[in-house]
Amino acid sequence: MINTKELKKIAIEVRKRLMKLIYEAKGGHTGGSLSSVDVLVALYFHTLKINSKNPKWEDRDRFILSKGHSVEGYYCVLEKAGFITEETLSTYGKFKSLLAGHPTIKVPGVEINSGALGHGLSVGVGMALAAKRDKRDTRVFVLMGDGEQGEGSIMEAANASGHYKLDNLTAIIDRNRLQISGNTEDVMALDCLEGRWKAYGWEVKQVNGNNMEELIETLDVLPLEKGKPTMIIANTTKGKGISFIENIAAWHHKVPTEEQYIQSIQELDKQLEELK
């Protein structure tokens, strides 16, 4: 079992690698990748029952990145977890790379093609239902964006999850409060999230999604209530970890300059130092 301090270290290393990835590819979704890193690391290095040597292992837990645009953080986590090699990762952004700008099942470890928002939860419901019908103890995890909550199809899936009492399904919202056009509350208000999901029959918990201890503590006690799907609203900071990127909507898919890239690595290295 990897301890929490080690998980935090992995998260910083992933942030360093994803900044390099975006800097070199000259494109990517910087802010949303950075906000969701801690959730991904907690899942891949602590919670998920998976095997990178056998990505299609039948009894594995399933993870779906419904907010497919946060792909840079995802690819870096998949590399760190041993699903893809550093050599493959370094082809990101290049012509004919295995790694497209949104996840595809061609990449070992990726369960669905995503990128169009509002699809992941329905697919997760299908996987959770299949597991229930087959009496397998597979668990399904779906990571969504907060801006993504505008998609109506998510509410259809929310409804079905409650109806079928899918307590093997956990959804996580990366609640970083910013979407491409600005503050989520200005674009389309979302602060009713908790009540909305409860009304659909989900057990809901709000956590600090950039706090590894809090994440682990919650992920260790799933489902939060037997007979109910679990919703974890992970309150995060968009651009987490890099001072000049944090909480700036423009960094949704802004690419760092050389100077900014160097500064970001320096800041992350400092955080690594502080961990020791």
Binding site: S122, V123, G126, L129, R133, S153, A157, N159
Partner: protein, 314 residues
């Protein structure tokens, strides 16, 4: 050729038979178990049935998730909704992800007649056949529907199927119903003109050919049950061996069977063609039969169109 069983019923009866033998077959629907005639399936095989309520986008996504967990998922409901409302789920979760999902669109075309354009699906061939890796099939009678259902249960990969609501006359017999995905059936051979139909128009096209025979014109009749992948060889053979082609479809004249055939024809050896279908307008309201008649999708009119086309060549 008389028949009182709708194709959707032939489909569900066959699906029950197959699902009893194969526990990995699941049927999903969106409050359409009555429309599809899935009631008996739901009663007989509750563990292999999933009701999603009126939520077609979710139904297709859930079907994809089940397929990714080893199921052969048949998601069934009105063609008008699955081909439009959930199109992005079909594009991404089914076709792009190449999941083993069969989208069964019932009461397609103008089957819902008087209910109007909200309930007609006259653009589905155009949209569905533009999706890479999605097989598109329109069966023409109950025997072909049964055979197709058997084939689909064994076929690994995404497919869209459209069938009508009412009972239609039989084209095939239980003893003689050749069906292979992607391989068109030649129902009648001839060298003067080729008539191609799909789904419910196949019967009318065949009747038209019989009328043409009385006038001394030998028409070749092709049942193009698979719109994608389309049988290129059958079309090219018609280009080389007959003098003109008429396509007849219960679909907009844009982007459907006619377009698919024309794409092959003009890129090989151009031949005079006539595309018969629904014009570019929101169709009139009436029974399916009345709408077919209004737009000339009848044996008499197909026959006359063929005569006129042949005369224009001389």
């Amino acid at each position: 050729m008389e028949n009182t069983i709708p194709c959707r019923k032939a489909f569900t009866d066959k699906l029950i038979e197959l699902a009893k033998k194969n526990k990995n077959i699941v049927a999903l629907t969106s409050d359409a178990r009555g429309s599809v005639t899935l009631d008996k399936y739901a009663e007989t095989l509750p563990e292999q049935f999933i009701e999603l309520g009126i939520a077609e986008q979710n139904a297709v996504g859930v079907a994809a998730g089940m397929a990714l967990s080893g199921k052969t998922a048949f998601v069934c409901g009105p063609a008008c909704f699955y081909a439009a409302r959930s199109f992005e789920q079909v594009k991404v979760d089914v076709a792009y992800t190449k999941t083993n999902v069969k989208i069964i669109g019932v009461s397609g075309g103008v089957s819902y007649g008087a209910l109007g354009s909200t309930h007609h699906s006259l653009q589905d061939i155009a949209s569905m056949r533009a999706l890479p890796d999605l097989t598109v099939i329109l069966p023409c009678d109950i025997y072909q529907t049964e055979k197709m259902t058997e084939s689909l249960a064994l076929f690994e990969g995404p497919a869209y199927v459209r069938m009508g609501r009412g009972a239609v006359p039989n084209v095939y017999t239980p003893e003689n119903v050749p069906f292979e995905i992607g391989k068109a059936n030649i129902l009648l051979d001839g060298n003067d003109i080729t008539l191609i139909g799909c789904g419910e128009t196949v019967y009318h096209v065949y009747q038209a050919a019989l009328k043409l025979k009385d006038k001394g014109i030998n028409a070749r009749v092709i049942d193009m049950h698979t719109l994608k992948p389309i049988d290129k060889a059958a079309i090219i053979a018609s280009v080389n061996e007959t003098r003109a082609i008429i396509t007849v479809e219960e679909h907009s004249i844009y982007g459907g069977l006619g377009s698919a055939v024309a794409e092959i024809v003009v890129q090989n050896k151009p031949l005079p063609m006539k595309i018969m279908g629904l014009p570019d307008e929101n169709s009139i309201h009436g029974s399916s039969k009345e709408i077919f008649k209004h737009y000339g999708l009848t044996a008499d009119n197909i026959c006359q169109t063929a005569v006129d086309l042949i005369h224009s060549l001389q």
